[in-house]
């Protein structure tokens, strides 16, 4: 029914994790490769520690800016439970990159609910899952706040294999445009670590 010329990516996480910046850089890379790109994000109340998603669709011509259930070719989950929450958006046969990182939500903090155990096993049984320990990688680089850029690197790697044009994106130039000079170097390393992971 739908032309398969559009690829859909979801970046999901928790408000404050930096999914929006990562999505912005990823989208700019896709534009530089000559694609039509639409990206959608929600600001506002959900940012206060709520579940957040940014959605990217790219191809020769993109209409809707949002990704439907069963439509995402790639999901990059910045938090493990969010990967589970968004699983139904993954296209059967799609790829999921999951950060092995837990942020307990309010009902878990207060003891009303328990953080689900065995998420990675469950996801791996259902889909093509790559697990990344982005927090450890970022801490290893000396700046825990670069975790989102490690995940961005992994996302860039995942899209790069999709087409020749994407293999030639100058990610470094796009990073430089979006980073404060003082943090450029560590973010470059973070990106490279994610890309190579």
């Amino acid at each position: 029914m739908k032309k398969d010329s559009v690829t859909a990516i979801l970046l999901v996480g928790v408000g404050g994790q930096g999914t929006i910046l990562a999505s912005k850089i990823l989208s700019e890379g896709l534009v530089s490769a000559g694609f039509d790109v639409k990206m959608s994000e929600i600001h506002g109340m959900s940012q206060r520690g709520g579940s957040v998603s940014t959605q990217i669709r790219y191809g020769s011509k993109v209409n809707a800016p949002i990704v439907g259930r069963g439509e995402a070719d790639i999901i990059i989950a910045f938090e493990k439970m969010e990967a589970l929450r968004w699983l139904e958006y993954l296209k059967p046969g799609g790829k999921m990159i999951v950060n092995d990182f837990e942020i307990p939500s309010a009902p878990i903090l207060t003891g009303e609910a328990i953080y689900p155990e065995g998420i990675l096993e469950e996801l791996s049984a259902k889909a093509d899952v790559t697990v990344l320990r982005a927090a450890e990688i970022a801490e290893g680089l000396g700046n825990a706040r670069t975790m989102n850029i490690v995940l961005l690197g992994a996302a860039a790697k995942a899209v790069s294999s999709a087409s020749v044009a994407l293999g030639n994106v100058e990610w470094d130039a796009i990073l430089r445009k979006n980073m404060k000079p003082a943090f450029l170097d560590v973010n470059r390393k973070a990106f490279a670590a994610g890309f190579g992971a």
Binding site: M1, K2, K3, G15, K24, S27, V31, D36, V37, K38, M39, S40, E41, I42, H43, G44, M45, S46, R48, G49, G50, S51, V62, N63, A64, P65, I66, G68, R69, G70, E71, M81, E82, L84, R85, L87, E88, Y89, L90, K91, P92, P104, S105, A106, P107, I108, L109, T110, G111, A113, I114, Y115, P116, G118, I119, E122, L123, K126, A127, A144
Partner: protein
């Protein structure tokens, strides 16, 4: 070659207004429209942009600027248009001098709103022309067109966006700024003074104008491509399908119906080009109306005797998307991967270190107090575990509704008091009139003004109390206690406290609730996300260390967990504080009955 850039609808709206030669813009922040003014501020060398205390003030300022002869803009969220509706309806009568565009940013799906309203009805009710873009490129284009049409038809123009248009990025081709010539202002009493005698003449003119606009919508708008027919690229055999759509819904319709349908894509949706729709309907066998929220187009299309399928299939509320439209029309759903394992909900919370937490902790311990809430981050004080709010209606409504409740409690002999909680920006917006009413009419409401020195919920915007303007210039600050005094609150009934000092919170609440009179508590402490100004640093100091739990002393009573701080983990057998999140606010330290929490510098 002109530059192509990925832009949100809000960025494109600002860009389009700048390219159109905009000279004046005003707004009150409100999701999803906030970033329009923030982006206009980037062009401050070419134009003037400001935050107003509320949407009515913003609209009035834009009207004044238009009257004085420049192109002006007001950018409001849907509820904000309610506040600004009074001047809008009359401005539609007087018409403009410089072109004026009102952006209405609706929020289907209530991503960050207290209601879901369809502001297309305003275009009809106020009798103004309406444009509805379906992506960022159209937002830029329609903004420029809006100014042209505003001046051509002598009317304010409404540019109606939705969250998905405002906050989605798509590719935009940038143009240059064409400075609009400033029109010379001349007194014109019959045009701008809406007395009954003048307004009757204006009303007659308005009817003529709508006729002209309608003929533009049916004909010229098609020639310029704002209203356009896109014929099926893969028509196939059988039934010819036609779709009438506008805004974000058009994009979903495109993905669902693809090349086998023809589309009438409307960019100018009011006055509704019914002749054009009829013409299109005659080309097809089956006509679908795909629109988000109300049956705005459908009702009028059906009333014109045109057979179509709409809201009997497509939901009448919530944000649409491709899935919803596909299922509604074809009954098809994509195959999905499902798991029996369920993710625990992740509702938004007050931040770690949020100054509101101390106040809500104090309020949560009170019995027989109705807490009348308002719009802002602090509405999250209604969420568990604090759960200390009874109501929230609209901007500034806490004091007004609280006053009525306080009077009703007395009249009906119910033993209860009322505390209204309202942010600094919301108080300036329209809370101060409620406080005037409470004093004037003698109620005993306790008004708590949560002065966090910024407009926080929408992402740190300046306001009349924060000391800076939209464009970063120093500005006089409203003195909240003095303002309350001027309204008539007795000086000894105005208590300014630090909300992170729980003793001060409790003392202020005790005293205010023991006193059968209207009083004010100002909780003065900057938002934890605020970038401190030099003055903030002087008054409030540098951030403190982090709080740590002494496991020896901790009895796992988990009272600290009940503060709802996202940095405190109390789910298992131990209680610990996430050092990466903790700001050392000290609320948990004061709450702990066993001295088990201490501050580590």
């Amino acid at each position: 070659m002109s530059e192509r850039r990925l832009m949100t609808g809000n960025e494109a709206a600002a860009r389009g207004a700048w390219e159109a030669g905009l000279a004046f813009a005003s707004a009150y922040p409100g999701t999803p429209s906030t970033e329009i003014l923030e982006n206009l501020a980037e062009y401050k060398s070419d134009l003037y942009a400001e935050w107003a205390p509320n949407e009515k003030t913003a609209m009035e300022a834009a009207i004044g600027a238009s009257m004085a002869g420049v192109r002006s803009l007001a950018a409001l969220k849907h509820g904000g248009v309610n506040v600004a509706a009074d001047p809008l309806f009359t401005f539609a009568y007087t018409g403009v001098n410089g072109g004026m565009v009102l952006v209405s940013a609706d929020d289907p799906g209530l991503h960050s709103s207290q209601n879901e309203q369809d502001n297309r009805h305003y275009a009809e009710a106020a009798k103004v022309l309406m444009l509805e873009p379906s992506d960022s490129a159209e937002t830029l284009e329609y903004m420029k067109l809006g100014f042209e049409l505003s001046e051509r038809f002598d009317t304010p123009v409404m540019l109606r966006m939705t969250t998905r248009i405002c906050h989605s990025k798509s590719i935009v081709t940038l143009g240059e700024r064409t400075p609009a010539p400033h029109k010379i202002y001349e007194r014109n009493i019959r045009k701008f003074v809406a007395t009954p005698a003048n307004a009757r003449a204006m009303r007659a003119k308005l009817t003529e104008r709508l006729e002209q606009e309608l003929s533009y919508a049916n004909a010229e708008a098609v020639r310029v491509g704002v209203n356009r027919i896109e014929r099926a690229s893969e028509p196939g055999e059988g039934e010819r399908i036609g779709v009438v759509s506008a805004g974000a819904a058009y994009q979903y319709a495109r993905d669902v119906f693809g090349g086998r349908a023809s589309y009438l894509k409307l960019g100018l949706t009011w006055p509704m080009p019914i002749d054009l729709i009829r013409e299109f309907a005659e080309e097809v066998d089956k006509l679908y109306i795909v629109e988000e929220l109300d049956a705005f187009m459908e009702t009028r299309i059906k009333a014109a005797g045109i057979d179509c399928v709409g809201k009997e299939r497509i939901p009448v509320w919530d944000e649409l998307n491709t899935d919803i439209v596909r299922f509604a029309v074809f009954g098809e759903r994509a195959e999905t991967l499902n798991s029996d394992m369920k993710a625990v909900p992740r509702p938004p919370t007050l931040c770690a270190g949020c100054p509101h937490r101390g106040l809500f902790w104090g309020l949560s311990k009170r019995k027989n107090v109705l807490v009348s809430g308002d719009i802002g981050c602090y509405t999250l004080g209604s969420a568990p575990p604090l759960s200390s709010m009874d109501s929230c209606f609209c901007m500034g409504g806490s004091i007004g509704a609280g006053h009525g409740a306080a009077k009703a409690f007395k009249e009906s002999g119910q033993d209860a008091r009322v505390a209204a909680v309202i942010g600094d920006s919301t108080f300036f917006h329209s809370g101060v009139t409620g406080l005037m009413n409470a004093v004037f009419n003698g109620s005993n409401i306790v008004t708590v003004i949560l002065d966090n020195r910024i407009t926080a919920m929408t992402g740190q915007q300046q306001n009349p109390g924060s000391g800076f303007t939209l464009t970063g210039e120093a500005a006089p600050e409203v003195d909240i206690p003095e303002l309350c005094k001027a309204v008539g609150i007795r000086e000894d009934r105005i208590r300014v406290i630090d909300p992170l000092d729980l003793n001060a919170v409790n003392k202020a609440l005790d005293e205010a609730l023991a006193d059968d009179a209207a009083s004010v508590i100002v909780t003065r402490r900057p938002c934890v996300l605020k970038r401190f100004s030099e003055r903030d640093l002087l008054e409030f100091g540098e951030p403190r260390g982090v709080c740590v739990v002494d496991e020896e002393k901790c009895t796992r009573c988990k009272l600290c967990v009940k503060t709802g701080c996202p940095a405190i983990y109390g789910g298992g057998d131990t209680v610990f504080i996430n050092e990466n999140m903790c700001t050392g606010c000290g609320v948990c330290e004061q709450v702990c009955p066993f001295d088990a929490i201490s501050l580590k510098e």
